[in-house]
Each structure stands twice: as structure tokens, then as C-alpha cells.
């Protein structure tokens, strides 16, 4: 810019500081914002007249919230539905005021508004004290990493401006924040409606010597620069324009310089930054945090979206099991075994929830053990991926560790500030598996088909073993290298130390999956025939086996199975000789969307075998016919 600018304009070129206003519904957030904008002369001409007209139309006195509640439904129902941001100028410093809805129903909108704020004003009705949404919002401020919190004790006129009463309210809110590792920068007693201690000092509380709200806002620190931290440049995309390849992305922290050697992603490929490309900008030899850049690399390697560029001496954490905090946004609970995609900057990893480590009770803000995370609840969980994830643990004020969970429909269902790698459990050995030099392609070429795992689940007597053995024979005759892992066969040897408790059954599933994986990786087609009654157990198997895992539901109704009873087990269970028998006194959780659903109550073994064998051949087939075994 030229140097002819007046100081005020030059100063206003600083990035604006976003401040979010949160708190329980009806504690006065929108009123506060209206008052703040009015008293600091930040309202456009005609706006006040417009608000008075809208208020009058609905039989109300001046309703300041109409300034922000710009949707008809918001004005009609007197409730803020979605966040609004409005620019706000205070002594030449630019702010953006974010008005966040206080209703629980609109929690996702509150987070949308609050997530990038530098500071928060938590509005608490001093007479009413902290309520459910006060606690929920305070919890969220903690989880999204807002460190600077100003508590505005509102409506103190209802406490007759009484020092003792107001200080009691302050104490109770302060105790609540301490439980969340949040420390309020300030407590300000105020009346937003009347303007006390908002932009001007109240003469009705001579005992209060602290700052007014506008003075407190002026003290909010500007965002700290991330340029001096170690480099993190997540690849956003790779372009090829005019025979040149560009790696595009935004520098999350640190800086890149032409000539620097960077390490790319988990494959750890080193490459040199040979140029920083741009259009209509002076040539650059370095770029820093916050900038969206396009670099060329030497050698001309092709990274993938999501690969993290970093320096070799300052690598991120690498782990496939990650502990994380969670703010859960779905209307239904979360359970162990559910799979999601974890988005982390531009990376996306398939993950499964392998444990729910603790759940926060919103009444007392304590952590408890829990089986599930309730709708829109808070928890700590462990996520597992089948690949290594590069990340930095969450640090407020940076983009580090900002995980977001999305479901199969690509909907955002939760925020996951990553804590760190999941600790190695007691007795767990630290091991370094070696990789084979025989590649999957080599094996596939030699065998004429791919390896794969076909997991047959169903009640005892539904026909899993019968079908598996018949299909094994059919596939073998067609030249397929095939193996069956059958429940009873495994229990006769590998798993003979296991009983039928839930834990032992899970272990049985885990061992079957691990053996299947070894065989699959050696190029074989593996048929696993195991009751595996629980969704979570099969999720564990999928976790071990990855995407090449096909769940086959061998489905016969209980009456048919019980009538068949080939091993006499139903009779034994009915007479009480054995307990915990699936279908009788232990549950069977049917697959939700199996790769193949075989109904064996009616069909013949021959036709079901044919269906299964052709499904498997289609799955593992290379282009062209299977190699004939001659």
C-alpha cells in the first residue's frame, strides 16, 4: 500500500479479531450485541428505525436481537437459529462479532460460529446462574480451543447490583470453568439491556473497579503468528498446467523457502522446493503460515492430497491408533465399532471407534466410564486406522490436531481434537513386523486371481460350514487357491484355550481374522465360517482385514436352525446344559448391509454354493478367465 494512508486506515489493515458471544438461551446474547453495536456507534443509518418497526409490528418494546435475527422465523419465534457475523470497529481495531444460537437444537450452528474465534464472551444471567447450555457452551469452548474467555454476568439489575449476590454468582461460574480447565480472563457485572458496563462504566455498581466490556475486548490478544513453528504443509491438490506440476496447499504453520528439503507424507519421500509459483504477485522465495501456495518439487514427485509436507528434523506424530476428545453432533448415540472417515486438514482416513474411554456427564462435568456417547455428548475415545496417520496433537490457537468425523453420507458428525497416540497397553509388546519382498502383484500374477476374505456369519445350524466346504470344493476345481477357517476347526487347535464368554468369543474372532489376513496376503481366497454374532466383533475383523473383507450373511431363521440342530447344541441349550448360546440366551446381531445375503432356510445347498462361488470368483477375478488348474 502507499504511504499516503492515514494512520487509522493503515491500522485497520490488521486482520479482524473474531469474538464469539455464547451462553444459555434467554441469558441475553443478542441483546448484548445490539447494545454493544449501538453504544459504540457501529450501526448503519436506518437500522435502529428498522428494529423499532419490526419490534412494534410484533407488539414488543425495542428488541435489540432483531439486529442479528435476520431470518423471519427468528424474529417471529424470538430465537436465534443460526450464527451471524458482523464486523465491529472499536477504537480503530477491527473485530468480528459472532452471534451464536443458545438453543440446544442449534448446537451445530453454535460450533460453526465459534470454531475460529479468538476469544469468547460467555453470557450468564447472574440471577439464574449457569444452566445446561452454559455448561455445554463452556465445554465446547474448551474443546474447540478458545483460551480467552470473558464472563459477562448479565441482568445484575435483577440482583439490585448487590456486590455479595453478584460475587456469589461469579464464584459458582468460576468453579464450573475450573472443572473444564478454562480460566475466565475476567468477570464483568453488567446489564446489557440498560448498557451498564458495556461501553460505559455503570454508576450503579461503584464497588466494581474492573474494565467494561469494550475495555476487556480491547485487551484480547491478537492471533499469535504460526510462522515460527515447524513446517506443516498439507497437500490440497496437485495440478498439471502447461507441462508443469504444482503442489498446492495452505501452510498451516512454519514456512517454506526455495531450496528447502521437505519430507512428503508417510512414504517419507524427500524432495526439494524448486520454486514457489504465483500469478500477479512479486516473485517469492519464501512463504509462511496462512498463505495458500503452489510449489514445484525437485525431483518431480507426485504427492497425494492429504500428504503432509514437513522438515525431517521436526516430524509429526505417526500412529494408527489415536486417542481423541470428541464433541459428538449426531442425534443418535455413538457406539464402539462404528466406522467413519477422519478428516484432518486435507487428509481423510478410514477409522473405527475401538473404545469409548470416558463420557462427560453434563450435570457435573465429570468423566465416567460409558458404553456409548449420547446424542450431542462429549467423550474421550480411541480411533484406529489400518494405515499410519501423521498428525500433531491438538493445540488451541493452531490448526494442529483438528480432526473431524464424517459418516458414510459425508455428513460431519463430530469434532475430534486429537490428544495423541493411544498408549501401549500393559504387557503389549512393541514389535516391528517385517514386510515381504514378494509383492501382491507377483502373487496375483502367479495364481491368476487376487486374495480375499469372505466372512460367513450366521446362527449355528444356518449352514455356514456346509456352504463353505462345498464352495471350497467348487472353487478349487476352478483353479482357485482356497482355504476354509471354520469355527470348530479353529477351536480344536489354535483357539483351544478359549471358552464362550463374550471376551473369549471376541478373541476367537480376532485370531480368525489375523490368520485370514496372513493367508489373504499370501494370495489365498479365505472362507471364514464363524457365528461371530456381534456387530462389534465383525467390525474388529473388518478393522484387521481392511477393505478387502466381504461379509456374507448366511441367514436361516431360528426355528429352522433349531430343527436342523446338527450338533445337538440347541437341545442342550434349551435344557440348560450349556449357556450363552447364540439365538437362545445370547444375541445375534444380523449384518446391516452384507456384501451377500444368502437365505438358507429355503434354498438348496447346490444353488447357494453356486451363488457364493460365483460371487467370490467375480470379486477375486482378474480381467480374463481364471487360470485353469491342469
Amino acid at each position: 500500500m502507499t504511504n499516503t494512508l492515514s494512520p487509522s486506515v493503515a491500522q485497520s489493515q490488521e486482520p479482524a479479531t473474531p469474538i464469539v458471544i455464547v451462553g444459555h438461551v434467554d441469558h441475553g446474547k443478542s441483546t448484548l450485541i445490539g447494545r454493544l453495536l449501538h453504544d459504540t456507534d457501529n450501526l448503519q443509518d436506518g437500522k435502529v428505525a428498522q428494529i423499532i418497526a419490526s419490534s412494534k409490528k410484533r407488539g414488543l418494546k425495542v428488541e435489540w436481537s432483531f439486529l442479528l435475527d435476520s431470518l423471519q422465523i427468528e424474529r417471529d419465534q424470538g430465537v436465534t437459529v443460526d450464527s451471524t457475523r458482523i464486523p465491529f470497529l472499536l477504537n480503530k481495531r477491527e473485530f468480528v462479532i459472532v452471534d451464536a444460537p443458545g438453543h440446544r437444537q442449534f448446537l451445530r450452528n453454535m460450533i460453526t460460529g465459534a470454531a475460529d474465534a479468538e476469544a469468547a464472551v460467555l453470557v450468564v444471567d447472574a440471577a439464574e446462574g449457569a444452566r445446561e447450555q452454559t455448561r455445554r457452551h463452556a465445554m465446547l469452548l474448551h474443546l474447540i480451543g478458545i483460551r480467552h474467555v470473558i464472563v459477562l454476568l448479565n441482568k445484575v439489575d435483577l440482583l439490585d447490583f448487590d456486590q455479595a449476590k453478584i460475587e456469589a454468582a461469579e464464584k459458582s461460574v468460576s468453579e464450573l470453568l475450573t472443572k473444564l480447565d478454562l480460566e475466565a480472563a475476567l468477570f464483568i457485572p453488567a446489564s446489557a439491556r440498560d448498557g451498564d458496563n458495556i461501553a460505559s462504566r455503570s454508576d450503579r455498581m461503584p464497588w466494581y473497579s474492573g474494565p467494561t466490556l469494550t475495555e476487556a475486548l480491547a485487551q484480547v490478544p491478537s492471533p499469535a503468528s504460526r510462522a515460527e513453528l515447524p513446517l506443516r504443509l498439507p497437500v490440497q491438490d496437485v495440478y498439471r498446467f502447461d507441462d508443469k506440476r504444482y503442489v498446492a496447499g495452505r501452510i498451516e504453520r512454519g514456512r517454506v523457502r526455495v531450496g528447502d528439503t521437505v519430507i512428503i507424507g508417510t512414504q517419507k519421500t524427500p524432495a526439494k522446493i524448486s520454486s514457489i509459483a504465483s500469478w500477479h504477485t512479486a516473485p517469492q522465495i519464501s512463504a509462511a503460515a496462512g498463505q495458500s501456495v503452489a510449489v514445484t518439487l525437485e525431483p518431480d514427485v507426485i504427492p497425494d492430497r492429504g500428504d503432509l509436507l514437513h522438515k525431517s528434523e521436526t516430524p509429526p506424530v505417526a500412529a494408527s491408533r489415536i486417542r481423541t476428545r470428541l464433541f459428538w453432533l449426531r442425534q443418535e448415540p455413538l457406539r464402539v465399532g462404528e466406522s467413519f472417515h477422519l478428516r484432518l486438514a486435507t487428509a481423510e482416513h478410514a477409522v473405527t471407534v475401538t473404545s469409548i474411554d470416558s463420557v462427560v456427564n453434563l450435570d457435573d462435568l465429570q468423566k465416567y466410564a460409558g458404553e456409548e456417547v449420547p446424542a450431542e455428548g462429549f467423550a474421550e475415545i480411541t480411533l484406529s486406522a489400518s494405515e499410519t496417520i501423521l498428525f500433531d496433537p491438538f493445540v488451541p490457537g493452531t490448526a494442529d490436531g483438528r480432526g473431524v468425523l464424517v459418516d458414510r453420507q459425508q455428513r460431519i458428525v463430530g469434532g475430534a481434537p486429537l490428544l495423541g497416540p493411544a498408549a501401549i497397553a500393559d504387557g503389549e509388546k512393541v514389535i516391528h513386523p517385517t514386510g515381504s519382498t514378494v509383492t501382491t502383484q507377483d502373487r496375483t500374477r502367479a495364481k491368476g486371481h487376487r486374495g480375499g476374505v469372505f466372512w460367513l456369519t450366521g446362527l449355528s445350524g444356518s449352514g455356514k460350514s456346509t456352504l463353505a466346504r462345498a464352495t471350497e470344493a467348487a472353487l478349487f476345481a476352478d483353479g482357485v487357491d482356497v482355504t476354509v477357517l471354520d469355527g470348530d476347526t479353529l477351536r480344536a487347535g489354535l483357539c483351544k484355550d478359549l471358552g464362550f464368554s463374550e471376551a473369549d468369543r471376541t478373541e476367537n474372532v480376532r485370531r480368525a481374522a489375523e490368520v485370514a489376513r496372513i493367508l489373504r496376503d499370501a494370495g489365498q481366497v479365505v472362507l471364514v465360517a464363524l457365528i461371530s454374532p456381534l456387530l462389534s466383533d465383525r467390525a474388529l475383523a473388518r478393522q484387521i482385514l481392511g477393505e478387502e473383507f466381504a461379509e456374507i450373511f448366511v441367514d436361516a431363521d431360528l426355528a429352522t436352525c433349531e430343527q436342523r440342530d446338527p450338533k445337538g447344541l440347541y437341545a442342550a441349550a434349551r435344557s440348560g446344559k450349556i449357556s450363552g448360546f447364540t439365538g437362545i440366551d445370547a444375541p445375534y446381531e444380523a449384518p446391516v448391509s452384507p456384501a451377500l445375503h444368502l437365505k438358507t432356510s429355503a434354498g438348496s445347498v447346490e444353488s447357494e454354493t453356486k451363488t457364493l462361488a460365483s460371487f467370490i470368483k467375480d470379486t477375486v477375478r482378474l480381467s480374463g478367465a481364471l487360470k485353469a488348474r491342469s
Binding site: 500500500m1 486506515v9 485497520s12 489493515q13 490488521e14 486482520p15 479482524a16 448503519q44 443509518d45 436506518g46 419490526s54 409490528k57 442479528l68 435476520s70 431470518l71 423471519q72 422465523i73 424474529r75 437459529v81 443460526d82 450464527s83 451471524t84 457475523r85 458482523i86 464486523p87 477491527e94 451445530r108 450452528n109 460450533i111 460453526t112 465459534a114 470454531a115 475460529d116 474447540i144 490440497q236 491438490d237 495440478y239 498446467f241 498446492a248 495452505r250 509459483a277 504465483s278 500469478w279 500477479h280 504477485t281 496462512g290 498463505q291 495458500s292 492430497r305 453432533l329 478428516r343 486438514a345 490448526a399 473431524v404 464424517v406 453420507q409 459425508q410 455428513r411 460431519i412 469434532g415
Partner: protein, 264 residues
């Protein structure tokens, strides 16, 4: 980084996300100052080119200067320009006030373009500070098969993670300028030297602050005839940018009704 650098970097990030995730993608070019800034930002993001089509949904009622500008810069900027037309006003919802009803033609023209080109992403230059309902928008705003904006059920959007289409017939409105203010746009135009239609500069004591159809857009009183004067004027103004747009002022919710139906 100063304020403009930060806005530019964020918009480039958004445009690159859209280009990566939404196919086919197109950018709306209304020929006004904001959409020129948007084309410029795309050239920044993609190193001097706009790698997707640029659409002008033509009401047929723009100022002649605007058509001249379009034809000149489509060539100069090497844009893949798609033109769309709008149905006559008689086909629009008669319960809308007159100016809003006229503006609704553009909604219908846009919907036809989206269907014709099976667009998954439409980049539009709206800003939060223009109007209250725009202040409630997402950067990636999903629209169902009917193109309606479901204000009650907007997806969460935080930590730069955006919604992606997950159903047949859905599209995403992408808003790379959402966080820019009117004055940021002007300061950026000045810094970068971005060309503009000269209707924005005062002649005979009047200038256009916002450009729409000729019959429903009014000029404002102003003597600002240069970029520096416009910026100086905006630093002290106390009236809203869209005060010259008739459809915003006909009734309390006219503009909201337009937007819910798919207007920008």
C-alpha cells in the same frame, strides 16, 4: 500477512477445495465488482487461468456498459463463458412484491443452467455484510434437488471442513467471498488493479454502489469518481450497500423468500 492477504489466502483455499471436490463446477459472473474479484482470485488460485466455466445468467436488463465489459474481459481473461437466459416475469410467483418478482427471474435462469450442465458446484460472490440472510450462510451451502436453501438445517461447518454433495440432484453453492466486506473488495481492487465497469464511479453527483438490473437498481448520491475516493467514501458512510436495490426493501422478508427459493 495483512487483512487483504489473509482474505485472499482463505478465498484461494476455498476455490481450490471446490475445484478438487465438486465436478462439474462453474463460477457465476454477474459482471459486478465482487464477481470480478472472484474471477481474479480464481486466477490467483490456478496460476493465471480459470479452469472451469464462468456463467452469466442474463436477465437481458443489465446496463449496456456491463455487456460491453463482459465481451471484452471474457476474451482478455480467456474465460470459458456460458450464457444463460431467464424466463419472462409473468412466469414468476405473483405473490412476490414487484421488484422481488423481477429478481426471481434470475433464480429460474440459474436453476435451468444448473440442470442443463448437471452442476455439482456453483461458485457465487455473495458476502455476509451485504444482507442479514447472507450473514447466515455457509462457505459450502448444500442445496437439494429443488435448489431450496434449508435455513433450519444447515450443516455444521468448522475447522475448514466443508459439506460435500451426498445425494443425486444436490449441488453446493460455494461462497469464497463470504468473509469479505464491501471496503475489503474495494481495497483489493485498488491493490491488484482489477478492471471494473465505470458505472461504479460518480458522474453528475451519482454513482452505482451495487449493480443489478437497470429497472430495479438505483444510483446513490456521490462525488467519488476514483478508487481512492470510493474507498474514502466507504470509510465514513452510514448507509448500507444494497440501499439502491429495490427488492431488499419492499417487505421485511422479501429478500429472504428470494434466497430460500434459490436466489443468490
Amino acid at each position: 500477512m495483512d487483512h487483504l492477504d489473509q482474505l485472499e489466502a482463505q478465498s484461494v483455499f476455498i476455490l481450490r477445495e471446490a475445484y478438487r471436490k465438486l465436478k462439474p463446477l462453474a463460477m457465476l459472473w454477474s459482471l459486478g465488482k465482487d464477481s470480478n474479484v472472484m474471477v481474479w482470485l480464481a486466477k490467483k488460485a490456478f496460476l493465471g487461468r480459470v479452469p472451469f466455466p464462468v456463467m452469466h445468467v442474463d436477465t437481458g436488463k443489465k446496463f449496456p456498459e456491463m455487456y460491453k465489459f463482459r465481451d471484452e474481459y471474457a476474451k482478455k481473461w480467456d474465460l470459458d463463458l456460458l450464457l444463460g437466459t431467464c424466463p419472462p416475469v409473468e412466469e414468476m410467483d405473483p405473490s412476490l412484491p414487484p421488484a422481488a418478482r423481477s429478481a426471481a427471474r434470475k433464480t429460474a435462469g440459474l436453476a435451468a443452467m444448473i440442470e442443463k450442465h448437471k452442476l455439482q458446484g456453483v461458485i457465487a460472490g455473495i458476502r455476509r455484510d451485504e444482507q442479514g440472510t447472507r450473514a447466515k450462510e455457509r462457505v459450502f451451502s448444500p442445496r437439494g434437488a429443488s435448489h431450496k436453501w434449508d435455513i433450519r438445517n444447515q450443516p455444521p461447518e468448522f475447522w475448514d471442513q466443508y459439506a460435500t454433495p451426498h445425494e443425486e440432484g444436490m449441488h453446493i453453492r460455494v461462497h469464497p467471498l463470504l468473509s469479505w466486506r464491501e471496503i475489503d473488495i474495494w481495497r483489493y481492487i485498488e491493490r491488484e488493479g482489477i478492471p471494473l465497469v465505470d458505472l461504479y464511479f460518480a458522474k453528475n453527483g451519482k454513482r452505482y454502489r451495487s449493480l443489478g438490473d437497470q429497472d430495479i437498481t438505483n444510483p446513490v448520491e456521490s462525488n467519488a469518481s476514483t478508487l481512492a475516493e470510493v474507498i474514502a467514501e466507504l470509510e465514513t458512510t452510514r448507509t448500507s450497500e444494497r440501499s439502491g436495490r429495490a427488492m431488499d426493501h419492499e417487505s421485511e422478508d422479501a429478500f429472504e423468500r428470494l434466497r430460500v427459493a434459490g436466489y443468490l
